[in-house]
C-alpha cells in the first residue's frame, strides 16, 4: 500500500470536500473550547487574586513553580491517580463481567440491562449524598453494619468509600461500552475456537479480547479521563478532608473559594495537560487499534 503516492485529482477534491464538511463543527469546537483554554493559560501566567485585584501582574511561570513545589498539589495528585487507577481497573473487570452477563442473557434481557444501568442514571451528587448518609454513624445503615464506626473521618476508609461510590456508579457505563464490543465478536469465531480446542477462558482471552480491543480502548480512555477529573463524590462525601482532595477539588478550592484566579487557572491547565498526556499515551499504546485510526489491520 503506497500511502505516499501523489494524490490524484479526484482524491484531492475528495480531501477538500472532507475539510469543508468538517469546518462548521471544527469552528464551533474552537469557539466553545479553544477560547476558555487560551484564557486559562493567560490567567495562569499572572498573579491574580480577586481579594487583591490591584496586585494583578504578569509573572510568567512563577505560578507553575508555586504549584509544582507544593506538597498539597502532589498529595492531591497522588490521591487522584490512586482513585483513577483503582476505579478504572475494578470497573474494567466488573464491567466485563456485567457485559458478558448482559450479552448472554436470553431471558429478560431488557430488564437485566435496565436494572444494570440504574446507578448510571442517578445524578452523581444525589448518589453521593445517599452514600454519605449511609455511612453516617447512628443513622446510616452501612455505618451500623460496621458497629457504628465513622469511616468518613479517616483517610484510608474515606478513599475506599469514594472509590466504591465511583465504581458503583460508572461500572454500568463501562459495561455498556464493552457490550458494544462483544457484539463485534462473530459467533462463528467462537465456534471455530471451541472446535480448535480452546477452553472457555482461552476463547475469552485469545479470541474475544483481541477482537474487542478497540472497544476496550475506547471504554478505558473514556473512563480514565473521567476518573481523573473526579469531583462530585469527594465534594459531597469528605469535602476534601483528611487529605482526600483530588486535583479538581484543589483547583476548585483555589479558584472559586479562594478566588485566586492565577493559582486556580494554573492547576486547571496542569489538569488539562495531564489529561492530554493520558489520552496521548492511550492512543500510542494501543497503536493502530485506536479509534479513528486506520482499519487496524494494515501494517
Amino acid at each position: 500500500m503506497s500511502r505516499r503516492a501523489p494524490l490524484s485529482e479526484n482524491k484531492k477534491a475528495e480531501r477538500k470536500l472532507g475539510w469543508l464538511l468538517c469546518a462548521p463543527a471544527a469552528l464551533v469546537m474552537v469557539l466553545v473550547t479553544a477560547y476558555p483554554i487560551i484564557y486559562s493559560v493567560w490567567l495562569s501566567l499572572q498573579r491574580f487574586d480577586l481579594r487583591f485585584p490591584d496586585e494583578r501582574k504578569f509573572i510568567g511561570l512563577d505560578n507553575y513553580v508555586t504549584v509544582l513545589s507544593n506538597e498539597f498539589w502532589w498529595t492531591a495528585f497522588g490521591v487522584t491517580m490512586l482513585i483513577t487507577v483503582v476505579t478504572v481497573a475494578v470497573e474494567l473487570a466488573l464491567g466485563m463481567g456485567l457485559a458478558l452477563v448482559m450479552h448472554r442473557t436470553l431471558v429478560g434481557r431488557g430488564i437485566v440491562r435496565t436494572a444494570a444501568l440504574i446507578p448510571y442514571g442517578i445524578v452523581t451528587v444525589v448518589a453521593a449524598f445517599s452514600w454519605r448518609y449511609a455511612w453516617t454513624p447512628g443513622t446510616g445503615y452501612l455505618a451500623n453494619l460496621f458497629d457504628g464506626s465513622a469511616p468518613l473521618t479517616e483517610r484510608a476508609s474515606s478513599l475506599a468509600i469514594i472509590m466504591l461510590a465511583e465504581i458503583w456508579k460508572t461500572t454500568p457505563f463501562m459495561a455498556l461500552l464493552l457490550m458494544a464490543g462483544l457484539a463485534l465478536v462473530p459467533e462463528d469465531l467462537l465456534k471455530a475456537a471451541s472446535t480448535d480446542g480452546a477452553t472457555a477462558w482461552q476463547r475469552f482471552t485469545k479470541v474475544m479480547l483481541p477482537v474487542m480491543k478497540p472497544a476496550i480502548l475506547v471504554a478505558l480512555l473514556f473512563r480514565t479521563l473521567d476518573a481523573f477529573r473526579v469531583f462530585d463524590n469527594i465534594f459531597v462525601l469528605t469535602n476534601g478532608g483528611n487529605e482526600t482532595s483530588s486535583v479538581s477539588m484543589l483547583a476548585y478550592n483555589n479558584l472559586i473559594r479562594g478566588l485566586n484566579l492565577g493559582i486556580g487557572s494554573t492547576m486547571s491547565v496542569l489538569i488539562f495537560i495531564t489529561v492530554a498526556i493520558i489520552a496521548f499515551v492511550f492512543v500510542k499504546l494501543f497503536g493502530t487499534a485506536a479509534p479513528g485510526s486506520d482499519d487496524g489491520e494494515r501494517r
Binding site: 480448535d196 480452546a198 489491520e297
Partner: protein, 401 residues
C-alpha cells in the same frame, strides 16, 4: 480418523420446534458425505450437533465408536470450516493455522513444520505473514482449510465453505476440496444447499427436508433413482420436468400424450386406494429432437409436437423450452422446492425444459417434434411423493414389469 454414527439423533428447541428428527446415518472412516437440502432443512443443525456446538436432544452420536453426546467440541477431535471462514482477525495466517496446535501444546518446531506443510499443500506459503484482512475470499477460504488440516483431526466438518465465493472461484475450490479430501483420506461431512456441489463432491449424499433424511446414496444413484418427488426435484440442474398425469383405461393421460404403463405399475395402480392422479417426471436430457432418433431408440420412447419458445445453445447441446398445454402438476414438495429456488415453479400449463443435441436444427417459435425416453421417466404419488417407478431401489420407467 474415525467413523461417525448418528443413531436416531434429534434436536428440538425449548419452544417446541423440531429442527432434526430421528436422523440415522453411518459415515464410514474416510468417507466424504454431503448433507444437502433447502434452507431450514436441519443440515447445519445436524453438523453442529456432530461438532458439539449444539446439544443433542435425543439419540446417540458416536465418533470412532465412542459416544460423544456429552463431550465438549474441544474433546471430540474434529475440525470445522465455516462459511464465514471464521479466521481470527488479530492473527496472521501462520498464527491462525498454528492456533489449534498451540492449544494442543505442541512444541514450536513441530508446529512450524506442520503449518509449513499445510501451507505448501494449499499454496499459502507466500501469505503466511499476512493478516486475514489482507487476503482475498479464496485465500481466506484456503487458510480456513489449512487451520482444519494441520491438526489431522478425526473428521472435517464443513458448513457451506464455498458459499461466500464467486461462481468461478467456487468451481476451482471445489476441486481443491475434493483433491485434499482424497489425499488426506479424512472422514468429511460437508453441508451445502447447492446441489451441484453435492453431486460433484461427495462419495455419498444425504438429502434432508424438514429435519428428516429423504434419501442417502451416491450422487448418481440419487439422480437416477430418486426415492421421492422431493429428491427428484432437488437434484439436477435444470431440474426434472413435472407434469400432471391422470390414470385412465390403463394409460396415463398427460400433456405429452397417452403414456403406456407396464404390468408392475398397473398392479400398483389397481388398489382401491391407489391414486388416480399422478405426477410424471422427466429429466431434460431424456428428450431428443425426433429427427435425430434412430428406429431402435424410437421404439423405447414416445413423441409429441410442441412449440419451441426459447432455444439456448450451450455449444455442447441445446436447452429448448417448450410450452405444453394441460394441467399443472401440484404437490407440497414441488411448492417447497419452488419457494427454495425463489421462483414460481413453471407457470401456466407448464414449461418443459429439454436438452437436445447440438445438431438439432430447432428454431425458436416453430412447432417441433420431440421424442422422450419412456425407460427414464418417473411416476410420483402426489400425496405421499413416493416414486412408483422405483422397484427394489432401481427406477425402470413406466414400462417396467
Amino acid at each position: 480418523m474415525a467413523d461417525i454414527v448418528l443413531d436416531k439423533v434429534s434436536k428440538s428447541f425449548p419452544d417446541g420446534t423440531v429442527a432434526v428428527q430421528d436422523v440415522d446415518l453411518e459415515i464410514a472412516d474416510g468417507e466424504f458425505v454431503i448433507l444437502v437440502g433447502p434452507s431450514g432443512c436441519g443440515k447445519s443443525t445436524t453438523l453442529n450437533m456432530i461438532a458439539g456446538l449444539e446439544d443433542i436432544s435425543s439419540g446417540e452420536l458416536r465418533i470412532g465408536g465412542q459416544r460423544v453426546n456429552d463431550k465438549a467440541p474441544r474433546d471430540r477431535d474434529i475440525a470445522m470450516v465455516f462459511q464465514s471462514y471464521a479466521l481470527y482477525p488479530n492473527m496472521t495466517v501462520r498464527e491462525n493455522m498454528a492456533f489449534p496446535l498451540r492449544l494442543a501444546k505442541l512444541d514450536k518446531a513441530t508446529i512450524d513444520q506442520k503449518v509449513d506443510e499445510a501451507a505448501k499443500v494449499l499454496e499459502l506459503t507466500p501469505l503466511l505473514d499476512r493478516k486475514p484482512a489482507n487476503l482475498s475470499g479464496g485465500q481466506r477460504q484456503r487458510v480456513a482449510m489449512g487451520r482444519a488440516i494441520v491438526r489431522q483431526p478425526k473428521a472435517f466438518l464443513m458448513d457451506e465453505p464455498l458459499s461466500n465465493l464467486d461462481a468461478k472461484l467456487r468451481v476451482q475450490m471445489r476441486t481443491v476440496v475434493s483433491r485434499l479430501q482424497k489425499k488426506l483420506g479424512t472422514t468429511t461431512v460437508y453441508v451445502t444447499h447447492d446441489q451441484t456441489e453435492a453431486m460433484t463432491l461427495g462419495d455419498r449424499v444425504v438429502i434432508m427436508r424438514g429435519g428428516a433424511i429423504q434419501q442417502v446414496g451416491p450422487p448418481q444413484e440419487l439422480y437416477d433413482h430418486p426415492r421421492n418427488l422431493f429428491v427428484a426435484g432437488f437434484i439436477g440442474s435444470p431440474s426434472m420436468n413435472f407434469l400432471h398425469a391422470a390414470v385412465e383405461d390403463g394409460k396415463l393421460r398427460t400433456a405429452l400424450g397417452d403414456v403406456p404403463i407396464g404390468d408392475r405399475i398397473r398392479r400398483e395402480l389397481e388398489g382401491a386406494d391407489a391414486p388416480r392422479e399422478l405426477i410424471l417426471g422427466i429429466r431434460p436430457e431424456h428428450f431428443e429432437d425426433a429427427e435425430l432418433i434412430d428406429d431402435e431408440a424410437r421404439a423405447r420412447g414416445m413423441e409429441f409436437t410442441a412449440p419451441a419458445d426459447i432455444v439456448e445453445s450451450m455449444g455442447s447441446d441445446k436447452y429448448v423450452y417448450f410450452t405444453v398445454e394441460g394441467q399443472r402438476a401440484s404437490a407440497a414438495e414441488l411448492e417447497e422446492l419452488a419457494a427454495d429456488a425463489g421462483a414460481d415453479f413453471s407457470g401456466g400449463g407448464g414449461n418443459l425444459v429439454t436438452r437436445l443435441s447440438a445438431e438439432s436444427p430447432v428454431q425458436e417459435g416453430e412447432d417441433r417434434r420431440v421424442w422422450f425416453n419412456l425407460e427414464k421417466i418417473h411416476l410420483f404419488d402426489p400425496s405421499s411423493g413416493r416414486n412408483l417407478t422405483l422397484h427394489e431401489g432401481r427406477s425402470a420407467g413406466t414400462l417396467g414389469d
